[in-house]
Symmetry: C2
Subunit: 351 residues, 2 copies
């Protein structure tokens, strides 16, 4: 079965490097694709021009398929009072680093939903694959991409999301388990989180959905890949496993923390961005636990002040407010070039 | 590797039926053991005499190994004010069923920690295996059991708990993932939950602990068993998979709900018992989400009123306050006799 997905994506091995906006680079994506997997770019946090530049740069580094990931979140439900209270609650933390919080917050990322210019750029540059997170575009958008030969993928964290993805005509479902690092792909951030693990979600989707399934979350090595294929996944997606690759844009503080001998614990936090995301446990996660998730403005509004705080703290050498996303498998992380990592995974998995 | 665990436990197949206090029966445990797995009794919620009776009854039904599970929770931190407030918050719910809540609450279960009479009964009846949940007894207790030839197992949800289990001289670690139904085995219910999935936890423990590892949580079929053995588990433990066996004490309302065509969602709730436990989402879970976990008295104090409410609601044909524990794999449940289920699992897993 996973052969057909590799054929669809024109890749050798059913291993996808997760998009990871802010961490993935053209160099990383190209290295993975050149090694026979599917490299990915995360362009949801940038402009159309930044996305175009990244795509063209990647194309210059590989002639193989790669994937471009977009954010499909609904517009933020703004709440001026809540935003003000959140800003004030973080004011002492900013003050501790000799700074002040922004006075107002902005919806810093434009969703791909209704983003005509981004769609036009994709139709023009035609990456082999386009994937969606936080939601799924309308049928006509999927159809337009398909007509240009672009394979589409979308993240589901539960069966209802998978059903909607299938209904919209998307080709492949990325089954994101609760273990996964970074932002949880839930379409409705206010819904009750099913918390389904990758293992539980893949099995559930295989039973009820006929689309190919990519297992994502907690997978770090070949044994894990083999296990996920055993329960019916058609491919796997790994993000955290690539964080220490030299081709990644992981910054020094993040790398240092990942490489520390300390046993890492992760937390699913809303505090950093306004949406649930799995991070190495840090000061921001702790602040979020004591504030409660209802205290945090909507995504990506909260991310505006979150990024400001992280940047300020970093100028003081403090990494505790940075978005150090990581999945539950983080303690199995290995540091090696992306091509070597991909080859290692394929060999270990017996693919 | 898993052969050595089957040898240690003197079983044919590395499949353990989870203890499930309130659901497991001598008939269920014996059927599983007679079919080549390890049946279990959950005696943590009963008296020494009830436990003895269950053990002797099981022994009358099988000559093979079976396991007896004990609760090792710390004494509840009582908080009279909090308990009063919780009782009052549930008063309208009781009133809705024409009843009243208890005026005061009791610590309804005695922990195995320091429970001399329970230990004496185990040393006398010598079940092949004894397992621990919520904690681990002192070294001398483990040693006393070992001297009687009893194999010991203990639940860990994270690496620190696994390390303590190993240090105390326990033979086997049950790696309970976040998917698992029923009570989460965390030693300290106030600690930050690692939320590690079975998949992530098993891999982490295999890397850092030398004891045999039993994977528990979300496993429902042979493919899942095979996958867990692939990532290094020495055996697997399944609970939810056995809920619909005719030998289980699962009551009619619980069975009806499990068999409904509805796609089930689970929730990790403190509301029912005072400790985190994964349940089919119901009225009690919803009440818990709106109250917040800090509003709920400690385990097993909260369980006293929880059981009273469930019993009252049931007399009105309402099952929404019952402890309908279930793991994330619940939608893969199958109804068949325990021996047939065990044989099916073994065949599917290619064991």
């Amino acid at each position: 079965m996973f052969r057909s997905l590799t054929q669809l994506l024109a890749i050798e091995s059913p291993v996808i490097q997760a998009p990871m906006a802010g961490v993935s680079t053209p160099e990383l994506a190209a290295a993975v694709s050149n090694a026979g997997g599917l490299g990915s770019l995360g362009v949801g946090a940038g402009s159309v021009e930044q996305a175009r530049t990244a795509i063209l740069k990647t194309r210059g580094l590989t002639s193989r398929s790669f994937n471009v990931n977009l954010f499909c979140h609904d517009a933020a439900l703004r709440d001026e009072e809540l935003e003000k209270t959140w800003i004030e609650s973080l004011r002492p933390v900013f003050a501790g680093f000799g700074g002040s919080p922004p006075e107002t917050l902005t919806e810093i990322y434009q969703s791909f939903i209704g983003h005509e210019a981004m769609l036009a750029m994709l139709l023009e540059t035609t990456p082999a694959a386009v994937s969606f997170h936080f939601g799924v575009p309308e049928r006509n958008v999927i159809q337009a991409l398909r007509e240009r030969g672009i394979v589409t993928l979308a993240t589901a964290t539960c069966l209802d999301e998978a059903a909607l993805i299938a209904e919209r005509g998307v080709d492949v479902i990325v089954a994101q388990g609760y273990e996964a690092g970074g932002h949880r792909g839930m379409f409705d951030p206010l819904a009750l989180d099913t918390q389904l693990s990758t293992f539980a979600l893949v099995q559930l989707l295989k039973k009820h959905v006929s689309l190919p399934i990519v297992a994502a979350g907690g997978i770090m090595d070949g044994a894990g890949i083999h296990a996920m294929l055993t329960i019916g996944a058609d491919a796997v997606q790994l993000g955290t496993a690539f964080l220490l690759c030299p081709e990644s844009a992981t910054d020094e503080g993040y790398r240092d923390r990942l490489k520390s001998s300390h046993m890492h614990q992760t937390d699913m936090t809303h505090a950093i961005s306004g949406r649930a995301a799995r991070s190495l446990d840090n000061d921001f996660c702790r602040a979020g636990r004591s504030a409660g998730k209802d205290a945090v403005p909507a995504y990506p509004v909260a991310y505006d002040i979150g990024k400001a705080l992280a940047a300020l703290a970093k100028t003081h050498g403090h990494q505790g407010y940075s978005a150090h996303w990581a999945g539950q498998g983080v303690n199995l992380i290995r540091e090696m070039p992306a091509a070597e990592l991909l080859q290692t995974l394929v060999r270990e998995a017996g693919l």
